[in-house]
């Protein structure tokens, strides 16, 4: 079985390293992008669509909300699970992201355990993987 793949989209290299470490621990193969535009370009060249994307909100070129909207408009990318990972924590922002098509929302700062629990909620890791 080929491993599941996760895109980590954040303009902060430090945050990408944290997220990459967590998904790698969960046996995902990680693909990094520095903004939404770069992520869309990478997706265009991929024959197999990653199962998961962890997406920052505030990024140059194409922000996370625009990325989510574009992914949702593309039938080829329908199966991707989209998780916003951002400091944007006003309730109205969470509602906007969910309305645009994000499946889950993790507020920074997050613990590794919280991220794993969210992915478990989405059925991407077995429950109890954190214990």
């Amino acid at each position: 079985m080929t491993p599941m793949r996760a895109m980590v989209i954040d303009d902060s290299r430090a945050m990408r390293m944290i997220l990459k470490r967590i998904v790698t621990k969960l046996n995902f193969e990680a693909v990094e992008a520095g903004d939404g535009k770069e992520a869309m370009d990478l997706l265009a060249d991929m024959t197999e669509v990653p199962e998961l994307a962890l997406i920052d909100w505030n990024m140059p070129n194409m922000n996370g909300l625009e990325f989510v909207t574009k992914v949702r408009a593309d039938p080829r990318l329908r199966e991707m699970t989209l998780v916003m990972v951002t400091t944007e924590s006003e309730q109205s922002q969470i509602v906007r992201a969910l309305a645009a098509g994000a499946h889950e929302y993790v507020i920074k700062p997050f613990t590794e355990g919280a991220m794993i629990e969210k992915l478990a909620l989405l059925g991407l890791v077995p429950t109890g993987a954190n214990s």
Partner: protein, 281 residues
């Protein structure tokens, strides 16, 4: 480290006695970091003076401040998940049939601590019960500080990041400064009271479901048996008792039998009426 071992022990004992929370070894610096702002707020010169004064003259208000400072982020919403999944998938569909005439459910969250379990139950019921049904959730805890915290219903960002789906966060919470507070519409069905599980129980209306999780482990066998016997008296004959994953009634109180509940198990009293039997009341 400015806290002496004796001072740390005094604080740890206070928190265990008043809030039933055990401060793990190795967290001495964290305790110190959280007590410094408390000491400063009450005008003590430093944390040593603050604890020293408290050892000489107990001060309930200060003790409360210490407990509040040291007992955050200790539990999460939908802890262990399985019991909640069992409610949604198996238990509630059954109860919706058997309680069709009253259309009201009563749940007990025993040892409710800061209230996450009681509110997780409320969210589960809110999302599962058909229109026209109502529910009541009673949380009880031995710590009045914890009862007040649960009534306040405010949780930190770290606490709401865990266990809750994003849709639940936006639907059942509202921002309150740096915190998130359960909305009044959900809070109105949940109440919290002070109660010791090891003392004789106060009079309570019977419950359809009791969550008594991860608390029996702290008691000796005789106390466990007494708590289970008291709980049986306020559990409806066909109601269910949920214990922690590492707990059981087996070998302690044989009036209960274990029954499957989704991917986990729960307990029913052996006098349980067969399904479909007429109920009074």
């Amino acid at each position: 480290m400015t806290l002496s071992q004796a001072e740390f022990t005094f604080v740890a004992n206070l928190v265990r006695r008043e809030a039933s929370i055990v401060l793990a070894a190795g967290k001495e610096y964290l305790v110190e970091a959280r007590l410094i702002p408390v000491a400063r707020a009450v005008g003590a010169a430093n944390v040593n003076d603050f604890i020293g004064d408290l050892q000489k003259r107990p001060n309930p208000a200060y003790q409360r401040k210490i407990i509040d400072a040291l007992t955050t982020n200790e539990t999460s919403f939908f802890r262990d998940r399985e019991p909640f999944a069992a409610l949604t998938d198996v238990v509630l569909p059954e109860l919706i049939k058997s309680r069709a005439s009253v259309r009201k459910l009563r749940f007990w969250s025993a040892a409710s601590s800061s209230g996450q379990e009681a509110y997780s139950l409320a969210i589960t019921l809110q999302e599962t019960l058909p229109a026209g049904w109502s529910f009541e959730i009673v949380g009880t805890d031995i710590s009045t500080a914890m009862v007040e915290r649960a009534q306040k219903a405010e949780y930190s960002q770290v606490e709401v990041n865990r266990g809750l789906a994003a849709t639940q966060l936006v639907q059942y919470f509202e921002r309150a400064g740096a915190h998130w507070r359960i909305i009044p519409a959900l809070r109105k069905n949940v109440s919290f009271k002070h109660m010791s599980l090891t003392a004789p129980f106060p009079p309570m209306q019977p419950f359809d479901v009791i969550f008594l999780r991860n608390v029996l482990i702290y008691f000796d066998v005789a106390t466990k048996r007494q708590v289970l016997q008291n709980a049986a008296k306020i559990l409806r004959p066909d109601g269910l008792l949920f214990l922690g994953a590492a707990e059981t009634t087996i070998g302690i109180d044989d009036n209960y039998e274990r029954v499957a509940a989704g991917r986990t198990s729960a307990y029913r009293t052996r006098t349980a009426a067969p399904a479909g039997a007429a109920r009074r009341g």
